[in-house]
């Protein structure tokens, strides 16, 4: 029950954090191109960061309970103090501070390129290197660098999708096409980096090829399959729907918005898989993972 609730919070926190990170970066990049959608796009980014703040606060509150495995830990000074010394708490607190900067940086009256919001999103990105599997490795520095690149690009891609939908819905064809062109020009170079950085992290974390057949590896393969599907959707958007929008096709805006929504939903699934993979399973052999430890224990019980 406690572990299940924690997992849901982790997944929600990851999705909302990525949304806030990407929205801030996207807005900073295209703010000067936006017209009618600017206020709504900025408000959307701010709301994502506010929602991330709420979930991160819940994680910080429930952290001691997850640590001790019982609700009484909520008011247990030792458990609260212990939780605050963990790398998980350091990461959550850093991400919380970053999300607060994004909220403040996207406030009404703030000006492009929104340096405080960008700094906040960088802080949020950096928070992912403070805990997790990459921390507990001898090759921590290269792993942290790869993770920074991976999270930055995934965040930008994912966080840009909702604002892009708003842009397609609210802006005139010329502005919407210009923003889509800007995004596509970046995405063409950045999105392959996701695969390269992710593959490099997997190579460094997995002890052997056989690791791909253990739960952590199988979830990784699931992510790769979903990523391939996303590539197909992204290609459809870039090669068919965006040119149709630029050509003034009447159905293109709706088709594009629908396709972007599906892309966003698929990335949510990828992030949820990531939350399970990084939280409950270890790249090390199966008997070392939390899930297998728990299931082996319950099998014996």
């Amino acid at each position: 029950m406690i572990d299940g609730a924690w997992l849901v919070l982790r997944a929600a926190g990851l999705v909302l954090s990525m949304q806030a990170i990407g929205a801030a970066l996207f807005i900073a990049r295209v703010a000067r191109q936006l017209d009618r959608s600017m206020a709504m796009v900025r408000t959307g980014g701010q709301r994502a960061a506010l929602a991330a703040l709420a979930v991160l606060a819940a994680q910080l509150l429930i952290g001691p309970v997850e640590l001790a495995g019982e609700a009484a830990a909520l008011v247990d000074r030792f458990e609260v103090r212990l939780f605050l010394t963990t790398s998980a708490a350091a990461s959550l607190l850093t991400r919380f501070a970053g999300a607060a900067c994004v909220v403040a940086g996207l406030r009404t009256g703030a000006r492009a390129p929104y340096p405080l919001a960008v700094a906040g999103s960088i802080l949020m990105i950096g928070s992912f290197t403070l805990t997790g599997h990459t921390v507990a490795q001898p090759l921590r520095l290269p792993l942290a660098s790869l993770l920074l690149v991976h999270v930055t690009v995934v965040g930008f891609w994912f966080g840009a999708l909702r604002p892009l939908r708003q842009v397609v819905a609210l802006e005139c064809t010329a502005v919407a096409s210009a923003v889509l062109t800007t995004f596509s020009a970046l995405a063409v170079w950045l999105v392959p980096v996701i695969a390269l950085a992710g593959a490099a992290i997997a190579v460094l974390l997995l002890p052997d090829v056989g690791g791909l057949l253990r739960p952590y590896g199988l979830l990784l393969l699931t992510k790769i399959a979903l990523f391939a599907l996303l590539m197909g959707l992204a290609a459809l958007n870039r090669l068919r729907l965006s040119p149709a929008l630029a050509a003034g096709s009447g159905t293109a805006p709706e088709s594009l918005r629908r396709s972007i929504a599906v892309e966003w939903g698929l990335i949510c699934v990828v992030l949820a898989v990531t939350a399970v993979m990084s939280g409950d399973f270890s790249p090390a052999p199966a008997q070392h993972s939390r899930q297998s430890a728990a299931s082996a224990a319950s099998a014996r019980a």
């Binding site: 640590l67 001790a68 998980a88 340096p115 802080l123 950096g126 997790g132 920074l148 939390r290």
Partner: protein
């Protein structure tokens, strides 16, 4: 904006040497063991240093109770004194947290005969 690359560098540089993923290697009493003398201590040995966050013992059919005190810092070999145990089957369960921030639960069973 010029500060941003510096911020990234600080975050990367803050990543120093760390402990590896902690997993259980050995316990005393061993899991599933049948022992004839009450063990004075419970010993949990991990691959790397781990911080104990919770530790309970329960006799078969009984409610669990906390085992205290335990080490206040992360250790690779955690030793906790056991109370005087009557003959019977016991379930010991725990939760530890490693350097990666992940909580790892575990449990063992042993039977004391006399």
């Amino acid at each position: 904006m010029r500060l941003l690359p510096g911020l990234v560098c600080v975050l990367v540089a803050s990543a120093g040497a760390a402990l590896a993923h902690a997993h259980l290697e050995k316990t005393t009493p061993a899991d599933g063991s049948v022992i004839t003398a009450a063990p004075p201590n419970l010993v949990l040995e991990f691959s790397e240093r781990a911080q104990l966050a919770a530790l309970w013992i329960a006799a078969d059919g009984g409610s669990r109770r906390k085992l205290t005190p335990w080490p206040q810092q992360a250790e690779q070999r955690i030793v906790v004194a056991l109370p005087n145990l009557a003959p019977g089957s016991y379930l010991v369960s725990w939760r530890v947290v490693g350097a990666d921030g992940h909580v790892v639960p575990g449990q063992i069973r042993f039977t004391l005969t006399r």
